[in-house]
Amino acid sequence: MSSHEQFADDLALHALGTLQGEERLALEKHLESCADCRRELDLLRGDMSLLALSVSGPKPPLRARQRLMNAVTRESRRSAAPARRAWWMLVPSFAAVALAIAVLALWLQNATLQHRLSDLASQSAMQQAGLQKAREVISTLTATDAMTVTLVAAKTPPQPQGKVMYARDRGTLIFLASNMPAPPTQKAYELWLIPMKGAPIPAGMFMPDAHGSATLMNPPLPKDVEAKAFAVTVEPEAGSTVPTMPIVMMGEGE
């Protein structure tokens, strides 16, 4: 028996849609590779359709026609003629709209980024200018050959002046004096550290030069003494342990 004969009866049942189970699976598998049987199946469906002509029943009621046409009208309104086009025909339209939206979004994003870039460039220029100014200030302050000049009111005789830089935790001190008159014979100036509590502490002897300038570098001092003020007195050249009045200069920390 050939495979066609084997499946001949099953083809008729399959056309009627009544073949089930393993027989149906076997036939469907055979149909995948057999064009003759596929054609015979289509013919059997044609034969089957003839059975519909054996029926002579009443015509469908008029309401059925009205129901159908109402549904057709509703769907026509919903979808309208252009919407009945195949979905793939709308792909170019969708693509064009999507592209236009994308272009607009990119343009807006670009404009925003340009604006932000401009702001950043402006800020950067300002920061550069500020940085340059700070560099120039530091450069001037740290230059070894910088000239330091103190200006005072015209026709005012130069006033004695002293400046102390004191690092309490390290016990180091630098003192610079200017416009100091020469002390009396056998006398010298003495710097005093006046602590928050207790007696003044000797902070070094100094003699001004011909221009009235003097310098004291790291005189011996106890560590970690909190200074309330600094003062200068005139003392014997050997120095004193207690300041002798009057106080020539005095200043408190800023």
Partner: protein, 182 residues
């Protein structure tokens, strides 16, 4: 919906083409041409006019929504609608989901049912062929077609061998074919 001046004499292909453009009048013309066949088959299977009207509505709405589902190069629309209607009615009778996709249904068929005269002539031929069949064969064919019974169910109902039922159904269909080949 727009009228296109389509008349009763328009071919099925012309009406289907108009339907693709959303022409409701073309839909109406096809309905008037084939609704009797579709409804009769559904009513014969289901035995209930309401259920038959539902099948009628479903079949024509499927055609309206997708006229391209029917391939006019491989048969006539009338027989195709009859097959679709019968299959949907059987599905409804057995309360099951549709077992076949209508896209897959190809009906290579002989008679053109477009005109009233064509349909009437074809009906007479079919009834004549069925009337000349042995009663057992005709009964097996009708049980399979109108009741959707499998050959096993028919065999258990009639007490006859499975193979006999299968052969009777196939030979019954081939008898109908021969009527239109001569």
């Amino acid at each position: 919906m727009s009228g296109t001046g389509l008349k009763e004499g328009s071919t099925d292909v012309a009406l289907l083409s108009a339907m693709r453009s959303g022409d409701g009048q073309a839909m109406a013309a096809l309905y008037d041409r084939y609704s009797a066949i579709v409804y009769s088959v559904a009513l014969r299977v289901l035995g209930d006019s309401g259920a038959a009207e539902d099948v009628l509505q479903e079949v024509f709405m499927q055609l309206w929504r997708n006229p391209g589902v029917f391939d006019s190069s491989r048969g006539h629309l009338g027989p195709w609608l009859a097959v679709i209607a019968r299959n949907r009615a059987i599905d409804a009778l057995r309360k099951r989901r549709p077992e076949t996709d209508i896209d897959d249904v190809v009906v290579l068929v002989h008679p053109d049912m477009t005109g009233d005269a064509d349909r009437k002539q074809a009906m007479e031929k079919v009834r004549g062929a069925l009337g000349s069949m042995p009663a057992a064969q005709r009964s097996a064919l009708e049980m399979a077609y109108f009741e959707g019974l499998s050959h096993s169910e028919i065999a258990s109902k009639t007490g006859e061998p499975l193979g006999t039922i299968k052969t009777r159904i196939r030979s019954g269909l081939l008898t109908l074919r021969k009527v239109f080949e001569t």
